[in-house]
Point group: C2
Chain length 300, copies 2
Amino acid sequence: MKCTRCKSKAIVALPSHNAGFCKQCFLKYFENQVQKAIKSKAMFTQDDKILIAISGGKDSLALALQLKSLGYNITGLHVDLDIPNSSEHVREIVKKFCQTFSIPLFIISLKKENLSIPKVKQTLSRPICSACGQIKRYYFNRFALEHGFQVLATGHNLDDEVARLFANTLRWDETYLGSQGPVLKEENGFAKKVKPLYRLTEFETAVFCFLHNINYSTKPCPYSKGASFTFYKKLLDDLEYHQPGRKFNFYETFLKKGKRGFQLLRKSKLTLNSCQKCNYPTTETICGVCRIKKIISSNN
Amino acid sequence: MKCTRCKSKAIVALPSHNAGFCKQCFLKYFENQVQKAIKSKAMFTQDDKILIAISGGKDSLALALQLKSLGYNITGLHVDLDIPNSSEHVREIVKKFCQTFSIPLFIISLKKENLSIPKVKQTLSRPICSACGQIKRYYFNRFALEHGFQVLATGHNLDDEVARLFANTLRWDETYLGSQGPVLKEENGFAKKVKPLYRLTEFETAVFCFLHNINYSTKPCPYSKGASFTFYKKLLDDLEYHQPGRKFNFYETFLKKGKRGFQLLRKSKLTLNSCQKCNYPTTETICGVCRIKKIISSNN
């Protein structure tokens, strides 16, 4: 197979684009997709201070390196979950990566916050993945706002976004469907959030990391059983195999046509209060994360 | 496995209902699902004259027999497509079925209408399945209106409906999504159309026919290559296997929640004209079926 751009030997095939690329042209393609996402969705500019949520997986590292090499003003934030046989290893990967590419890095230790994920798991009866996600989102958002970042960027890729869209559609959840997208604008108490990799698949971010010889964490979180989300991704891969390009088309058409109806249906905005403990937005009097903290300390 | 209702030996398992049934209880379950569809969606009453589109496949025969045994006033209509090695066999099945169960039957011969499907296939460049569907819908509708039927019932089952919903959702086709459902109300020039089997799967209509010893046509139409629709059904079966009940839930939640947004988005109704040839509704001056007829006769 020959490279679609330069006709030298291709090393990666992308059926969804009816294309194959050599190393250099693949990296150019990757860069173009990221630039296209940033510009077409007005995610940020060269003047913005961008905070990147770095988990240590392929997506967040690919995002950080790509934005860095495009000259954007980026800073990394890693939330250390304090999970045995996992978090220490991941933290070292993130630190080394940021050193190698001269990316300023901040680390928030959930242990220091008295929110170690194993402790949260022990204490709460609800699924740990949802609580862990809530805690991470809280700290990313809080850090972005307290340190003057204009925008928070995450490594969510096309597969993540399509699996989420599919899950929301199966339930016809009009609230989530009315708000899902690669850009969530800044609203009182919430930083602007963007997903510059939404046009690229998991496979493509893995190839990017491989070609840049980036060491990323490949072990799934020991707590994630990954039930329905992993299944949806497999099912959507099957769809993509039969209809190359379908994933992106499903997502992009949703943004252009599907979303509007759900936006019309969205209930009038919830009134947000300031959490009495931390001042961050909540629909209650105390926010979800402060409530978890409270339960944990009263259990000790 | 024991029957969920009467505790005798079960002969059919229905994971989506977390149930298993013996013969009698399965047939009762089937009847209940049909009655529930008819009543909850106000499809028709014992006073209505109901026309049933009978193709000769398991769904239309199951529908006809179930409505007959519930005492509804039904009449069958079969459209003979005139496809070699197929239509004659199917027509005989339909005739024998209607004789056996004393169901009045009308047959429209597309050959006599100069619309033999092989001829249509030869003449038109568009996919034959879409033209054949259009022609059948035209004659069912026309017959229902011209013979004073209050409603036209078709054998579409849950799998058909969910596959269609899935296909429409993948494209976020707001027009189709705003109108899809088990009841299409009567509008100028269009008879009321209902799908009393929409709560039952293909598997369940096959079991119904098997238990009633009904001989139905099992050969797929020689012209249907069945590409994407068949693939979607397989994919949705996979989903149902992992999440029993998901198909029905996806469809029913769409009717309750998803559809509203698309209805809001639907463009203002198209102005319908009366076809200058046949008087039936069209957005043009000559309706689609009369246009096909015209092309065919000018080609002869």
